[in-house]
């Protein structure tokens, strides 16, 4: 690794675009396909300009046929290509869930190790933009449930950029979740960029009193909550899971064993979701180190409503996170 010589300003959106551009320049087998990735530039503008550089063969607009083109991505991966398939949002990905679960995730095992599926699927997730009950959900937990997949949730620009290359190098299917509220996030990338690992959680802020465990679009809210808590003398450690499958139990466990308190923060629904999984793992591993019950801040169990005040009440906020952390540290009183 050479040390970074400089940094360059970018956004989360541009960082993903740049990573795709470099992957396609580097490897002829890599191509991008999905609804409106070409002419339109991507539903969220991520692939803008790639069609002009790589042409229609490698930046393929698909018809509205999620099951068909995701399945075709699986087939192309089997046939020696390295497809990046973009699904506009996680809600629409449910039309392709059959292909992802019943084919991509199972083929290696069913075939006794003969057929692996080196496919990368990217999709937008999350709420907060008043898009109501069919465009706002965080269904990462559905995918993290499935053996045979690797599931990533880049929360930072460095991860958004850096995760793509190792994901493409992975012999098995990788699903990458991009939170819709992050695309405009501004920041910098080291130049030349440093490699990031696919596995392993990251401590985004060190602290001693309570551990906030989160991922993706909730990272910023946890860091805001940690700032707020610092103002009242509570030192919160913030862990970004980065990978939702597999989950890095060691980093989470080591932190909670030190702080003795944990709050799990997830934008998915509370029941049977990511937050339930992470909380259970903390309980399994750190039970005797805990000074307070493991807390959870998750989406309220309602299809996300349109009006701003109801949506805000349904989703985790820095206030709710800070309140849960205070309760864990100070007790109910």
């Amino acid at each position: 690794m050479t040390a970074p010589t400089s940094v360059r300003p970018t956004t989360y959106r541009e960082a993903i675009r740049e990573a795709m551009r470099e992957a396609m320049r580097r490897d002829d087998r890599v191509f991008l396909m999905g609804e409106d990735v070409g002419r339109y530039g991507g539903g969220f503008g991520v692939s803008l300009g790639l069609l002009e550089e790589f042409g229609e063969d490698r930046v393929r607009d698909t018809p509205l046929s999620e099951s068909g083109f995701v399945g075709a991505g699986i087939g192309a991966a089997l046939g020696g290509m390295r497809p990046i398939v973009e699904i506009m949002t996680v809600n629409f990905s449910l039309l392709a869930l059959d292909q992802i679960l019943n084919t991509a995730a199972t083929l290696l095992h069913m075939s006794g190790g003969q057929f692996n599926v080196p496919l990368v699927i990217r999709m937008t997730t999350g709420g907060g933009r008043q898009l109501a009950a069919q465009h706002s959900h965080s269904l990462e937990g559905y995918y993290a449930h499935i053996p045979g997949l690797r599931v990533l949730a880049p929360a930072t620009i460095e991860d958004a950029y850096g995760m793509l290359e190792p994901a493409l190098a992975d012999p098995d299917p990788v699903v990458i979740f991009e939170h819709g509220s992050l695309y405009n996030e501004k920041g910098t990338l080291p130049d030349p960029p440093t490699a990031v690992p696919l596995e392993g959680a990251a401590v985004r802020r060190a602290g001693t009193d309570v551990t906030l465990v989160t991922s993706g679009g909730c990272l910023g809210r946890c860091l805001d909550a940690a700032d707020d808590l610092a103002g009242s003398g509570i030192s919160a450690e913030v862990i970004d899971l980065r990978s939702l499958r597999p989950i890095d139990d060691d980093t989470v466990g080591a932190s909670v064993s030190r702080t003795h308190r944990a709050i799990v923060v997830d934008e998915g629904w509370r029941s049977v979701g990511m937050s339930a999984e992470v909380a259970a793992r903390i309980a399994e591993r750190c039970f005797y180190d805990l000074d307070a019950p493991v807390g959870r801040v998750a989406a309220v169990e309602v299809p996300i409503p349109y009006p701003r005040h109801l949506e805000a009440a349904a989703l985790p906020s820095a206030e709710r996170i800070a309140a849960a952390a205070r309760k864990a540290v100070l007790g109910d009183g």
């Binding site: 018809p63 046929s65 069919q134 409503p305 109801l310």
Partner: protein, 321 residues
């Protein structure tokens, strides 16, 4: 039928003025979320829905304002929904993409492309099983015809002979993807006919042409009890949604289609036939604008849902446990 075209003109203008106001209100951040305008396509909703009776049902997409208004849903209640207020047609919970009305048998704006089609088949199945002679009209864009749900639905409707009118609003683009870049067979009626469904297309910019085609189609569904497919060839003058920078269409193409504005075609014909004067049309515009103004005032004055009610309507209420 003297007077019919004038009434249709008024209906189309109501949709046009309503949506123009919505666009302004979106820019002013009074309306949020995804907003998909129907401007340019008004003749389709007005022409088709005019052939339905009160007992018939409708299913549509996120591009649903025109359908709701043409179906007779109260403009103030629709505007209140756009504002997210509790007086909205969906209590504010749905917003632009999810207008509903049980009273109008309006089974909603569905935000999942193709998502409404199986629902329409099921409504038709329920009528069929209960011996009711009702029609379910299902509206969708040409982009939806690439989805498996389209093929599964039309096959079921044909196989089981269900009273469903499939109305494809072919505006030539699915977001940025032109028809020829998403369909191997661009003759959509021909494609539907492969399922043994009577299918034809009409000029979707001419409200009288749509009405005639839809009248025939609805009558056939009612008489035969089986499905019919109607393609309306139309064009959206605005971007896909308020979020869309519209980079994929040629400006000249948009301008060319604007010369076929359904309101202009209807107005010219009314004037030519002497069924209306310029002054009549101006008066209608004034009345419609007043109705839109009143709908905005009502929406502004409408209440917000109480946050304590956030989790209402997740499960049915009043069910003994």
């Amino acid at each position: 039928m003297t007077g019919a075209l004038l009434a249709q003109y008024r209906e189309m203008l109501r949709i046009r003025r309503f949506e123009e106001r919505c666009a302004e209100l979106y820019s002013a951040e009074r309306i949020r979320g995804f907003v998909h305008l129907y401007i340019g396509e008004e003749a389709v909703a007005v022409g088709v829905i005019g052939q339905l009776v009160q007992d018939d049902a409708m299913v549509t997409t996120y591009r649903d304002h025109g359908h709701a208004l043409a179906r007779g849903m109260d403009m103030a209640a629709v505007m209140s929904e756009m504002f997210g207020r509790v007086e909205g047609v969906s209590r504010g919970r749905g917003g632009s993409m999810h207008l509903f009305s049980a009273e109008h048998r309006f089974y909603g704006g569905n935000g999942i492309v193709g998502g409404g089609l199986p629902l329409a088949v099921g409504l038709g199945l329920a009528d069929h099983l209960q011996g009711r002679e009702r029609v379910t009209a299902c509206f969708f864009g040409e982009g939806a015809m690439a989805e498996g749900e389209f093929h599964e639905s039309i096959n079921l409707a044909a196989l089981w002979q269900l009273p469903v009118l499939f109305v494809c609003e072919n505006n030539l683009y699915a977001m940025g993807t032109a028809l020829a870049r998403s369909e191997s067979e661009t003759d959509l009626a021909l494609k539907a006919a492969a399922y043994e469904v009577p299918a034809w297309s009409c000029d979707g910019m001419d409200v009288e042409a749509v009405s005639h085609a839809a009248q025939r189609a609805v009558a056939l569904v009612r008489d035969s009890g089986g499905p019919v497919f109607l393609e309306a060839r139309t064009y959206r003058f605005r971007a896909h949604s308020m979020y869309d920078p519209d980079r994929y269409r040629d400006k000249a193409e948009i301008e060319l289609w604007r010369t076929r504005d359904p309101l202009r075609i209807a107005a010219d014909r009314l004037l030519d036939r002497g069924e209306a004067t310029d002054e009549d049309l101006r008066d209608i515009d004034t009345e419609v604008t007043e109705e839109v103004d009143a709908s905005v005032a009502a929406a502004e004055a409408a209440a917000w849902e109480d946050v304590d009610h956030l989790t209402r309507f997740v499960m049915s209420e009043g069910v003994p446990t």
